[in-house]
C-alpha cells in the first residue's frame, strides 16, 4: 500500500474513502449487484440475526439490573453466599455476561462472517 497517494479528499459530494486507499475503484452498478446477490444477503442476515437480538438481550439484562437495583432493593439485598447478596452477584454477572457475549460474537464473526466478507471484498476489488 501507498502513503495516501492523492491525500485525503473525502468531501463535498465525494464519499470518504471512495477515492483513496482501496486498490481499485468499484462502480455503483457493482455495489448494487453485490448488494442484491444471494451471498451478500446471507452475510447480512447472518450478521444481523446474531448482532441485533444479542444487543437487545444484553440491554434488557443490563436495564433489569439497573431497575431492580433502583426499585427492588429488598430483592437485590437477599443474601446468597456469605456476604454476597443477589444484587452483587447480578452485578458481577454483568461482567461475566459481557465477556461471554464478546467471546461468542468473535467466534461467530471468525467462523461465519469473515470468510464470506473477505471473499466478497476480493471479488469486488479484483474485478474492477
Amino acid at each position: 500500500m501507498t502513503h495516501d497517494p492523492k491525500g485525503p479528499q473525502p468531501h463535498a459530494g465525494t464519499p470518504p474513502a471512495a477515492d483513496v486507499g482501496g486498490p481499485a475503484q468499484v462502480s455503483p452498478e457493482e455495489f448494487r449487484a453485490v448488494q442484491g446477490s444471494a451471498e451478500f444477503q446471507r452475510l447480512r442476515s447472518s450478521f444481523r440475526t446474531f448482532a441485533f437480538p444479542m444487543t437487545a438481550a444484553f440491554l434488557v439484562w443490563y436495564l433489569a439490573y439497573v431497575l431492580l437495583s433502583t426499585y427492588a432493593e429488598g430483592l437485590m439485598s437477599t443474601p446468597v453466599v456469605g456476604n454476597l447478596n443477589l444484587g452483587l452477584l447480578v452485578g458481577l454477572g454483568q461482567f461475566l455476561s459481557t465477556f461471554l457475549i464478546t467471546w461468542a460474537y468473535v467466534r461467530h464473526a471468525n467462523r461465519s462472517l469473515d470468510p464470506v466478507a473477505s471473499r466478497l471484498r476480493a471479488e469486488l476489488e479484483g474485478e474492477a
Partner: protein, 527 residues
Amino acid sequence: MDVGNPWVNIGIFLVFVVVTLVIVVRVSRTTTSVGDFYHGGRSFSGRQNGVAIAGDYLSAASFLGIVGAVALYGYDGLLYSVGFLVAWLVALLLVAEPLRNTGKYTMADVLSFRMRQRPVRTAAATSTLAITFFYLLAQMAGAGALVSLLLGVDSTAGQSAVIAVVGALMIVYVMIGGMKGTTWVQIIKAVLLITAVGVMTVWIMASNGFNLSALLGRAVDSHPDGAAILEPMLQYGTSGTTKIGFVSLAIALVFGAAGLPHVLMRFYTVPSAKEARKSVVWAIALIGFFYLCTLVLGYAATYLVGVDTIRDAPGGSNAAAPALAYELGGTLLLGIVAAVAFATILAVVAGLTITASASFAHDVYNGVLKEGKATPENEVKVARRTAVVIGAISIVGGILAAEQNVAFLVSLAFAIAASANLPSILFSLYWKRFNTRGSTWSIYGGLVSALVLIAFSPVVSGSETAMIPGADFAWFPLTNPAIVSVPLGFLLGWLGSVTSKEHDEAKQAEMEVRSMTGAGAERAAGH
C-alpha cells in the same frame, strides 16, 4: 490525609513525562504522510489499539471517582461502574467494524457517507466539538483538584500553573506526535494504570485469603452504615427523583460510550475491521478487569482508610484511591498512584484534543468551508493550529472551572454522545430510509435537548451542590438528561427521515456493501 511526599509524586510523574516525550519525538519521525497525523498510518495492531482505547476511556474520574464511590457507598459504586463496561458491547456488536469500513478520519465521514455533505458534516462536527469541550473542561478542572490533593498545592496560582503545564504538555504531544504519539501516550498510561490497580488488588485479595466475602465483611464492620454498603441505593436512593436520575445516567452510559468521538476515532488507527474488532475485545477485557479491581479497592479503602478520613480529605471521595495506596505501600506507592492519575489526565486530554482538531480541520475547515478542495497539507496545518487553540481554551476554561463543581460534565458528555451521535450512527448504518434531514434533526435535537435540560437541572442551579448555588432556575428535576434526550434523538431521526423524500439508493448500496465487506477501505500505510 497525609499526602506522602509531594516531591516523590512529582518526580515519578516527571519520569512519565520525559519517557513519553522521548517516545513521541521518536515516532514523530515516522509521521510522514498527511493521514498519519489523524490515524498514525493505520499501523497499530488490534491489541495495541485496544490498550490505547482503555487508556483513552479510563479517565481520572473513573479511577479516583469509582474507587471513592465504592468506598463510601459500596453497591452503588459497582452499579455505576457496570454501565461503563457493558456499553462496549454496543461498540463491539454494532459500531466498530462498519465504522472502520466506511469512514476515514472522523465520525462525520460515516454519518455523511450517503447524505448531503455540508449539513451533516456541520452537525456532526458541532456535536463532536461540544462533547470534547465538556469532557476536556472536566478533565482540566479535575487536574486542578488533583494537584491540591496530591501535591499539597492549595493556592489558586499554584493550581492554575499546574493546569497550564498539563495543557501545554498535551499541545506538545498532539502537535509533535499526532495520532501516533497520542496513541503511545495512551498505551503507556493504560499499562501503568492497570498494572498499578492490578497489583494493589492482588495485594488486598491476598490479605483476605482471596475471599471476596471476607473482604466485604471487613468493609461492613468498619462502615458507619454497616451492611447497607452491600445493598443498593445508599447513594442514589435519597428520593424518587435521584432514583430516576440514576436510571437516566445508566441510559447515558450504555448508549454513550459507542458515540464518543474520541473513542470512535481510535478505530481508524488499525489496518482492518477485523483488527478493529480485536481492539474492542482487548478494550473490553482490560476495562472489565479494571472495574472489577476498583470494586476490591473501594471496599478495601472503606476499612483500611476509613470513611471519615476519606470524607474529610481535601479531595473528598477522590482521595480514597491515593489514601489506600499510602496505607498499602507508603510514600512510594502513593507516588506511583499519584503519577498514574496525572498521566491519566494527560493521556485523556491528548486524545480529546486530537479528535477535536481533526474534526475541525477535516469536517469544518475542509469539508464545509473549502468544500473539500483544501490541500492535505493545509488541512493538517489547520488541525495543528486548532490543537493549539483548543489547548489554550481548555487551559483558560480549566482554570476558571477549577473552583466549580464540574464533575457532572463527564456524564453530560456521555448523554450528548448517546442522544446526538449514537442514533445517527445506528440509523445511518442499519436503516435504509435514513437521510440528511433525519440525521441533522437527530444530531441537533439530541444535542440541544441534552444541553437545555442540563442547564435547567439541579446540577446548574437550585441546589447546594449546583454550579451556580445562589440562583434557582431549575425546572428539570433530574441530574442527567438522557432518559428524555436519547429517545428524542431516535424519534427525531425517524421523523426527519420519513418527512423527507431524499434517498440516495446508489450510495446506500455502496455504504452497506462496504460496511459489511470492507471493500475499498484503506489498509495500513505501507510499513
